[in-house]
């Protein structure tokens, strides 16, 4: 009797576990489709990512997503799906440039801009700092020319007006 109860309890637990796992599996498939689909462009020339293309009358995204779901259902790997789309549409199907070959340039350019720009700013700051530290010619002379004084006053007024 106890054995039967244990067996029933185990069966119930297994059923609950299966019930929990099965929808989770289905959800995983959908999420995976979204995740992989997010790496491709819709080829209807709308410049949108495949999973986001929803403009009315777009048959391209519908068929591409169908193809993607079928491939996932048949157990194809992400690499295989990528190869399939690249063969079908060419490299422009990638939503972002691949990180290899000439496309690597696209990824490195922003970093180059940032590094180059930062170096330039640091250079400019250090040069301007040098200007500020340079002693003013004729400093220490008691008489300051009127013109210089007026320029200094105008500058002070400008800088403090806020």
């Amino acid at each position: 009797m106890i054995k039967m109860r244990r067996l029933a309890a185990s069966g119930a637990l297994l059923a609950i576990a299966l019930l929990l796992i099965l929808p989770l599996g289905a959800q995983d498939l959908s999420d995976r489709a979204k995740q992989i689909g997010g790496k491709f462009m819709c080829m209807c020339s709308c410049s949108q990512v495949l999973t986001q293309c929803n403009h009315v009358g777009c048959t391209t995204s519908t068929s591409m997503l169908k193809e993607l779901n079928q491939s996932l259902a048949s157990g194809s790997s992400e690499t295989a799906i990528t190869q399939m789309f690249v063969q079908e549409f060419g490299t422009k199907v990638y939503a972002e440039p691949p990180k290899s070959g000439f496309s690597l340039v696209a990824w490195t350019l922003p970093s180059i801009y940032l590094i180059f720009g930062t170096l330039l700013v640091v250079f400019v700051i250090s040069r301007w700092r040098k200007h500020a530290l340079e002693p003013v010619a004729g400093a220490g002379n008691a008489a300051i020319p009127q013109e210089l004084l007026e320029r200094a006053r105008a500058r002070a007024a400008r800088e403090t007006e806020d």
């Binding site: 410049s47 949108q48 939503a95 500020a132 400008r158």
Partner: protein, 687 residues
């Protein structure tokens, strides 16, 4: 009326050419009559462009289907509202509309400064006329909207014809925002012509001092405000019409509008360095040149078909004209700079590394890096095709990865910059100004984390938003407290008083606050959810806390389209909260479909429902529902940005000193000096 419009455009071109050539003559001879006549020719050119534009609108309103442009973009059933928008829905009309907006600016400048800045204005007039000549050439000879409809006859000659009805307006454009988004964006693009004309004019004239900067600032802010509004309205249009659940797809045309906005923003910040410290003169001039050049580049991208986009106009050969104009602009700017670069000698000195000046330099760096990163990403498919023969797509994932960190750094600088003093910031000042906002920011981050925000960039964004908002709030509080102590008014009215005393500074803070709200909205995108389901009548769909119940599907014929409509009841906690009506529209004349998304928007999230069509297998209607958190904050932020810009455009109200109790000297006692009491009171006045 089309003959009238054509004639007005030809005359406008003649006047603009006179304003240009005569203007050069006026600069050389300084003859007052020539100066005056060229200015009046400029004004006449603007008035003629207004007439041409109104005559094209008249053709739309009178359903003149003998005009090719009207046939292509309108029909009898098109509502009056959209007949206005039909003007800029095609290549030819939008170029005329560009000329129209440019004419509004040119007209305003010529009238405002008709008796001022005599040395500078002839140069400015010549530059503006030069830009007008380019667009009027396109309007007259390349893309005229006044072409009559003609069909080839039996003998090969073209016969003029008139159609009974037109093809109608593209369904995507039949949306209220399409009536206001393009005018705003174009007003931004064209508006940058004015600072460009002043900068180039001042450089050519070797105009002394920083006056051109003061003259330019307001025009730049107006253009920047329109550009910001145009970008946000475009994003809202994409969100509410395209039905993909997002508002920014990094489409080449969207990117094209962002580029001049980024450099324009950089200019609005760096210009303060020139005004306050006489620094960065060369940089500022080139920022203005680049902003204008990017406006032309953006137009080139939109109209030439260089890059593919749903927003772009049909591919055409007009790109060659824009490329030529762009090259001409760069040559003229470079030539003017090389010739007069000694005039731009700056007083570049930096007293300390931790200062407002440094923060502006880094702010400009980040804005420029964002600009070139977006530009190179947008053009990379073209470069890739040139070098490898393969066209690579550069979509939203790339731009997000590149620009999100840059955007966050900019947000950080938005908080830091205003707290740093000009010249030098002491350690005590840093502690005093940053301690509290930093603590509040971290506390905000802890709260966000506790509420479930785990995505790294979103969490950082929330922390920075709280930090920046608290720095702004503290700036207002400190200033208002001082005024309250003196005047005894409430804190709120003291804050208003404070703002009105220095509109530029506090208007700028309001703009920053608007940007914080926009960033909060953008951070919400990391938590978007969506689900799609075939629905039967009475069936339900769950998304987040909402239950959608399909009540019915009906069809209603409208004047210009037939709408298939879903009637959906939205429930929350088993209580009905509202009805949503997403539509699918079938336009009769164009035989095209359109969507009308239904959105239930709250500050927390948007429930975004799309009628995604019918299932091909079951013929059941399909609902695609999205739950997009915090989207409303983006639109609110946009409104705050506009408000801040308007405040910054207002003149300052200054406290003026008046002597209290001053008595007039009387005739009876002429020898007596007037008695002045030593006390003074302050009275408000406008400068």
């Amino acid at each position: 009326m089309d003959v009238f419009g054509s004639f007005a455009l030809v005359l406008a071109l003649v006047c603009a050419v006179y304003a240009f050539v005569g203007g050069i003559g006026a600069i050389g001879t300084r003859h007052p009559l020539l100066v005056k006549s060229t200015r009046q020719a400029g004004i006449a050119a603007c008035c003629l462009i207004f007439l041409a534009t109104f005559s094209l609108e008249y053709l739309f309103f009178s359903d003149n289907f003998a005009n090719a442009y009207v046939v292509s973009h309108s029909n009898r059933d098109l509502s009056t509202f959209y007949k206005i928008a039909a003007l800029w829905s095609g290549q030819e009309g939008s170029l005329l509309f560009w000329s129209f907006l440019l004419a509004v600016y040119v007209f305003s400048v010529l009238i405002t400064y008709r008796n001022k800045n005599g040395e500078l204005m002839p140069y400015v007039g010549v530059v503006m006329a030069g830009v007008q000549i380019f667009f009027l050439t396109l309007n007259n000879f390349v893309a005229s909207p006044f072409k009559a409809l003609a069909v080839p006859g039996a003998n090969g000659a073209m016969n003029l014809v008139a159609r009974a009805d037109g093809n109608g307006l593209t369904p995507l454009l039949q949306y209220p925002e399409m009536v206001i988004h393009p005018p705003n964006l174009y007003a931004g693009y064209t508006g940058f012509t004015i600072p460009f004309a002043f900068a180039l004019g001042a450089l050519l004239a070797r105009y002394p001092g920083e006056k051109w900067i003061h003259l330019t600032r307001k025009w730049t802010m107006i253009a920047w405000m329109f550009q910001s509004m145009g970008i946000l309205l475009g994003a809202h249009w994409a969100y509410a019409v395209l039905g993909w659940g997002g508002y920014w797809g990094w489409d080449p045309v969207e990117n094209a509008s962002l580029l001049p906005w980024l450099t324009g923003t950089a200019f609005l910040h760096s210009v303060m360095m020139q005004e306050k410290r006489g620094m960065m003169k060369v940089w500022n001039v080139w920022l203005v040149f680049c902003t204008f050049a990017l406006c032309i580049l953006g137009t080139l991208l939109t109209r030439s078909g260089v890059v593919s986009s749903v927003h772009a106009f049909a591919q055409s050969s007009i790109g060659t004209w824009f490329v030529s104009f762009l090259v001409l602009i760069l040559v003229v700017c470079l030539g003017a700079y090389l010739k007069n670069r000694d005039y731009l000698k700056s007083e570049n000195q930096l007293d300390a590394i931790v200062s407002r000046e440094s923060s502006f330099l880094f702010n400009n760096l980040m804005l420029l890096v964002a600009c070139v990163a977006v530009l190179s990403g947008t053009l990379f498919p073209v470069f890739s095709e040139w070098f490898t023969g393969d066209r690579i797509s550069v979509g939203a994932p790339f731009f997000n990865k590149v620009n999100v960190p840059i955007g966050l750094l900019l947000l950080f600088l938005t908080g830091v910059g205003p707290l740093l003093a000009w010249r030098k910031t002491s350690t005590e000042s840093l502690k005093r100004n940053f301690g509290m906002p930093l603590a509040i920011g971290i506390a905000g981050g802890v709260v966000a984390f506790a509420l479930g925000v785990r995505e790294f960039y979103s969490l950082v964004c929330f922390i920075l938003c709280v930090f920046v908002a608290s720095t702004i709030a503290l700036e207002f509080y400190r200033g208002a407290k001082v005024i309250r102590t003196r005047s005894g008014a409430s804190l709120l009215s003291s804050a208003v008083d404070l703002t009105m005393r220095n509109t530029r500074r506090y208007g700028g803070y309001i703009v920053h606050l608007g940007m914080v709200l926009v960033f909060i909205g953008l951070a919400g995108a990391a938590f978007n959810r969506d689900t799609q389901k075939e629905m039967q009548l009475g069936s339900t769909m769950q998304i987040g806390p909402y239950t959608l119940v399909l009540q019915s599907v009906d069809s209603r014929p409208e004047r210009n389209y037939t709408a298939q409509r879903m009637i959906i009841e939205v429930m929350r906690d088993n209580k009905p909260i509202m009805m949503l009506y997403p539509e699918k529209r079938r336009f009769v004349t164009t035989v095209e479909n359109g969507t009308m998304v239904a959105i239930y928007s709250t500050l927390k999230e948007d429930l975004y429902v799309v009628f995604a069509g019918q299932s091909p297998d079951t013929q059941l209607p399909v609902i695609h529902a999205y739950l997009n958190p915090l989207v409303k904050w983006i639109w609110l932020g946009g409104a705050v940005v506009v408000l801040g810009t308007l405040v910054a455009l207002l003149p300052n109200r200054r406290a003026v000193l008046v002597l209290a109790g001053a008595s007039e000297p009387t005739m009876a006692t002429p020898t007596l000096q007037p008695r002045l009491t030593p006390s003074v009171i302050t009275r408000e006045g406008h400068d």
